[in-house]
Symmetry: none
Subunit: 135 residues, 4 copies
DNA sequence: GTGGTCTAGACCACT
DNA sequence: GTGGTCTAGACCACT
């Protein structure tokens, strides 16, 4: 697993690691049940302190995305990507997504471009009926 | 202007106020150039301290979304919703949006539902041409 | 007199007008005792409200840089550019200048470049002994 | 770390704290990566409320000069004093510096004295080669 | 009448 | 032990 970090970003490193792992799971790079590298190993790979990796893993654990076992290390939860049945999760995500879409609009990003970006990110290819990506 | 706050949320109240105002601008409820209520007035309306409102306004000001004048109060910037010409803004937004879409997937929200939610939020009505996930 | 404003800047317009006038006086474009355009005329020239120009003039008046006479309009004070004999003025300027030089250093601007910029701005040409402006 | 404040100044205390810390970093008194005192401790030292210190730290954080960690406190960013690669930063600094140099001139500070002050502040000793204003 | 600043104290998470 | 948040109240300039 390779993660790209931006050490100069305002976003804390442990948060970036958490975000990149969530993206790796969504992309299928990390499957449900898969082992994560040990905190020490990932720390070496990323040239950062393993405590920072631990913080990221702890965050993912508290979010219910991974499981941590002292002996066998961290694994992606087998039931990840499955609807939680908790309506609160969806409601919370939608509220945050609504804010993010509003930000795009307020920043002047055209709505059509935003929708196309979302479609491409989700499904990996642009809409076939007129391709805004080539404008 | 009416804003709904969740006092029990983990999200700070000042951040919620900021988010709700961004959404109100995106929705057209607050137009470019429109007056915002005074910090003390909004504090009374929301039954919170005016300092908390002030913090939200300060955030919006620093983000370039509103202007604050000591005498005449706060207004939505006239040039809001216009592209900044700053590529960094778009890049940053897209990075955050990518993480948010990954979260939806990891939480088990179907991709087609996510796209439909985005389309409806942006354009106010669902797609008329069937399931976009299967094109 | 031509002033260039940045309407999108975070700096208030009246402050920008004030700054540009101070620079025009320093550059000799506006001499001691010279008439300033009327607030209405400058407002038309800059395509802004004349009240904003009035605010800038009022600021300059309070700073002791111009005089405002209801009948004859605004003029650059005849004694501008002359030492005030008030040690506080120098001390205050030096404190602010020290902070600004510290900011350049903290931002990573090379000290030699900063000195060269100051020299060129003050005297209109670079140092003759090695020209950092051509690196 | 000792900071001198002027409680009677028009400049807000939190801004003065911010300015003095920037100067301390430029002077090398505070090195990249160094710990800052806790907000409460510095508040006690300066005999002011810790909220005021907190506001100064928040300003420095948003400027990218320090990092704040809820657990371990505030530290000078390790990459401070390194060019940001953001041309906007330099342009903005130069615009502000130009205004400040114009102010010195308008106030009657001799240009040669201003240049000498800048040189001494930057390099710690005056020019050895005579009057730069006459080269 | 408006926002800005500062003080003071409380409670909170651990980011 | 640290910073973050929120409340409450005072005084200030007019930016």
């Amino acid at each position: 697993m390779h993660l790209t970090l931006d050490l100069d970003s305002e976003t804390p490193i442990y948060q970036q690691i958490r975000d990149r792992i969530v993206e790796a799971i969504a992309d299928g790079e990390l499957e449900a049940g898969a082992d994560l590298p040990s905190t020490r190993q990932l720390g070496v790979d990323l040239a950062i302190n393993f405590h920072t990796v631990s913080k990221a893993y702890d965050l993912l654990r508290r979010e219910g995305i991974i499981r941590i076992n002292r002996k066998s290390g961290a694994v992606v939860r087998p039931d990840v990507k499955q609807p939680s049945g908790d309506a609160g999760t969806d409601t919370d995500w939608k509220r945050r997504a609504r804010t993010m879409l509003a930000e795009a609009d307020v920043r002047g990003l055209p709505k059509a471009d935003v929708l196309e970006f979302v479609r491409t990110t989700l499904f990996g290819f642009p809409d076939q009926g007129g391709d805004p990506g080539e404008r």
